[in-house]
């Protein structure tokens, strides 16, 4: 049987530590630069087949739709 998560935040990637509270439902990945942020988001989205959304405050969400 196919079991998976849908419509949930799979991961949070941020370079703005203050904007994200750790210990929520989803794992949080920290990045130092924009390039790293972009790269991490791309890697994780390809691994999880989730979609990357930009919150424009230095935080990306990966959500499976």
């Amino acid at each position: 049987m196919d079991i998976g998560l849908k419509e949930t935040i799979i991961a949070v990637i941020t370079k703005n530590k203050a904007s994200v509270s750790p210990g929520g439902g989803a794992p949080v990945f920290y990045a130092d630069t924009d390039e790293e942020l972009e790269k991490l988001a791309m890697y994780i989205s390809r691994i999880t087949t989730g979609m990357v959304h930009d919150l424009e405050n230095g935080t990306y969400l990966i959500i499976k739709h």
Binding site: M42, T49, V52, E56
Partner: protein, 296 residues
């Protein structure tokens, strides 16, 4: 008065032809292999036989034979669930799923075509019995043409105006003109969407069309057909390249974003225009008193 042999033969023949005439590879890309054809032709033949045999049975006052027709109806309902099940099972393998509304619609069409075969064979058998073979065949042909005309479907073309819509980004937000489609996070994906993506705006012609186009099943059918006809530049695990349709809730216009393999806007517009209006999505508020009043 003709012999039963002729009655039944012509009936079966015309009924089978009716089923065959309705069985063509169309834009739905289904069925596409001889095996698929065979299944439907065989069932069409059975349907035609039932219709044809009904005439001599009734003339011989074997009224219980009518119960066989009930059996046939049951059989054809099974066809519907068979189609529904098999298409639903294949949904996972589609890059752009058909959606349950479209599947139900296709299944219903397959069921109804068998009834058309029954009625055609019944009609031509009656023609052969009361007149002669010639008129029996004519009756069958008239019925086939009639069913073709009656079963013609409304398409997006007839309920709306389809035109190109400009794709643009406001920050990470992708718009088709003023309709928000989605939030695209990755810069690289945004670049690809800007370069290869196409946008289409579908403007409803009236309130009926507006209600129909708002239906999610109808929108999914449009996305599926457009990507089936033009191909789609997307692989598994690239959700940002999935065609999406969103609605402008103020005007009822819907905007579609797609990255086709063949980026040709003319063909895309034509493909969208050819999508059938799905029966379960079709709404006609204008044919009710309240809806008419609310529209002015």
């Amino acid at each position: 008065m003709n012999s039963y042999g002729e009655v039944v033969t012509v009936g079966i023949l015309m009924g089978s032809i009716a089923r065959f005439a309705l069985l063509k590879i169309d834009y739905r890309q289904y069925p596409s292999y001889p095996q698929g054809y065979l299944v439907h032709l065989a069932l069409g033949f059975i349907a035609a036989s039932l219709g044809a045999v009904a005439v001599p049975a009734l003339i011989e006052k074997e009224y219980t034979a009518v119960t066989f027709l009930a059996l046939a109806a049951q059989q054809f309902r099974d066809i519907r669930s068979m189609e529904r099940e098999s298409l639903a099972k294949l949904e996972d393998t589609e890059l752009v799923p058909r959606g349950s509304a479209y599947i139900e619609d296709i299944a219903k069409v397959f069921e109804s075509r068998n009834y058309m075969a029954i009625f055609t064979s019944l009609g031509s058998s009656l023609g052969v019995y009361y007149l002669n073979i010639f008129w029996g065949i004519i009756t069958g042909m008239v019925l086939i043409i009639l069913f073709h005309l009656v079963s013609r479907r409304q398409t997006i073309r007839s309920i709306s105006v389809v035109r190109e819509g400009k794709l643009h980004f406001k920050g990470p937000l992708l718009y088709v003109e003023d309709i928000l489609i989605m939030n695209v996070g990755l810069k690289n994906s945004r670049k690809i969407i800007k370069e290869k993506g196409l946008g289409v705006i579908i403007e409803p012609k009236d309130d009926n069309a507006r209600a129909t186009l708002a239906n999610m099943g109808q929108r999914q059918a449009i996305a599926h057909d457009a990507s089936a006809l033009l191909g789609i530049r997307k692989d598994f695990g690239e959700p940002e390249f999935t065609p999406l349709i969103r609605r402008n809730h103020a005007t009822g216009e819907i905007g579609m974003f797609i990255i086709p393999s063949e980026p040709d806007i003319e063909c895309l517009i034509e493909a969208v225009k050819r999508v059938p209006v799905i029966e379960s999505s079709k709404r006609t508020p204008l044919s009710s008193e309240v809806g008419k009043k609310a529209a002015d």
